[in-house]
Symmetry: C2
Subunit: 261 residues, 2 copies
Amino acid sequence: MAEIQKYLFTLTCREAGAVRGLGGAELHGLLFSLLQDLDPAEATVLHEAPDKPFALGPLTGPGRREKGFLHCESGTHYRFTLSCLDPSMTGLADALAGYWSGMAVRLGTAEFSGEAVEEVYPGGLTYQHLLERPPLPREITLAFRSPTSFRQLGTQIVFPLPERVFGSLLQRWNNFSPLQLHPDLDFSVLLVSRYELQTSLVAFDRYSIVGFTGRCSYRLPPRFPDFLAFQIHALARYAAFAGVGYKVTMGLGQTELVGEG
Amino acid sequence: MAEIQKYLFTLTCREAGAVRGLGGAELHGLLFSLLQDLDPAEATVLHEAPDKPFALGPLTGPGRREKGFLHCESGTHYRFTLSCLDPSMTGLADALAGYWSGMAVRLGTAEFSGEAVEEVYPGGLTYQHLLERPPLPREITLAFRSPTSFRQLGTQIVFPLPERVFGSLLQRWNNFSPLQLHPDLDFSVLLVSRYELQTSLVAFDRYSIVGFTGRCSYRLPPRFPDFLAFQIHALARYAAFAGVGYKVTMGLGQTELVGEG
C-alpha cells in the first residue's frame, strides 16, 4: 500500500439538509463509523491514537451558508478529500473506497449517496518521493485553504508563524514516515516575506474555532544550508497531505504549496 | 506644554518630484534639520535618544505610486502627522508650527511650501486623560494604517502578536509618561479573535521593510482583572500617538483604536 495518498470522495445530496461548519466533525464521525464496520480493531486503534495518520478536507459544494451551516440542496454534488499518511491508513481508505459508490450517507440533517472515489495521485506517493523532488526557490508560499490555527496551552495561535507551521508538519512527518527528518530544525529562522490572511469562525457542535485562511510566503535566510533547505521543501510539499495545525482530521488546516501540482 | 499632542501638517507641492516609500525617512530628515535650526542642543539630545518621544505619519496625498516612489504633482496638497509624547517634544513641535506656513521644503526631488499646522486635540492630552477614559468592551480592534512590524534579533516579526503590539506600547508609555504602568503585564493572555491583514513593502534608501496593514481584534480572557484591563485600554488609546513597533519615527506603525474619535 502507498505510504501517502489523497482520495477525492464525491457524493450527491438525496435529501436537503444542513451541515454544520465545514462538515469536518460530521465527516470525521462518518469515517469512524464506516471503519468500525470494516475493521473494528483497526478503527479502535486509530481512534485512540494521539496523532492520526490522516487529514479530512471540508465538505465543499453549492448551497446557502447561514449561521454556521451549509444548506445542502437535493440533486447537487458535494466532495471532500481524505489524505492518508501511512500504508495501513491507505489500506483502510482503499477498502472504504470499494464500498463508497451508492452508499447511503447522512451528514447533519442532509442525506447523500456516495458516487465515486478518485486517487488524486494514482498509485500513491512515498515519503522518499517528497524528499527527492527538485529543490524549490528560496521563497515558498503556502495557501491555507481552510481555516487554520494552532493550539497552545489552553489558547490558540492564529498566525502562521514559521515555527508553528513547519513544526506541525515536522511532527506529523516524524510520526508517520520511515525516513526521519532532523527533529531540532529551527524554523524560526525562516523569514515571513509577505502574506494576505484573514480569520473566520468555524462552527462545531458546542463551540467555534477561529482560524486563518489566505497565503503566506517564507524565505530561507541567506547562507541557509542546502541539506536543511530540502527538508523544509519536503515539509512544504507534505502540507497538502498532512494539513497544518489543529483539527486537520476535521476539515481545518487544509494547506497547499503554491505553484506545485 | 501638553504631555501628548498630535499635529496635522499640510503642505502644497510647488515643483513636481518623487518621494521614496511613505516619505518617512524624508520627513524624519526634515524634522531634524528644522529642529537643528530651532534648538541645536535639544535636537542633538533627541537625535541620540534610543527611544524618541514622537511618531511621524506617512506623507499622504494624490499622485502616482510607482516602484516604491510617490510622484507628487505641482499644485496638489499633502499632509503628514507628528505626534508628541512628552512636554518638551510638544514644545518643540509648537515652536516649529509657528514657522511652518510659507516655509520652502524639499522632500525627495519634490518642492513644497508649508501651509497650516493643526492641533488634532486642541489643548492636548495627558497620560492621565488616557487612563481615565471610560472602559472599553472586552474585545478591542486596532487598525494598522501604515505598514507595521517588530524587530527581533536581526530579523522581523510581521504579525500583530498581542505581546508585541502591547509590549511596544507599554515600553513607549513607561519611557515617557509620568504615570507608570505595571511593567510585567502579560499581554500573551490576550486572545486574537479576528483579523484581516496583509503585508506590503516600504522602500527606504538602501533597503526595504516588510510591514502589515489591516485590522486585528484582541479579546480579554474571562475573569481578567479590571484594574489590568484599564491599563490595556489606555495603551490601545495611546497607539494613535505612540505608533506600534519599528520605525514609528519614519512613517511606519501608524495605528488606531477602531471606534474611538
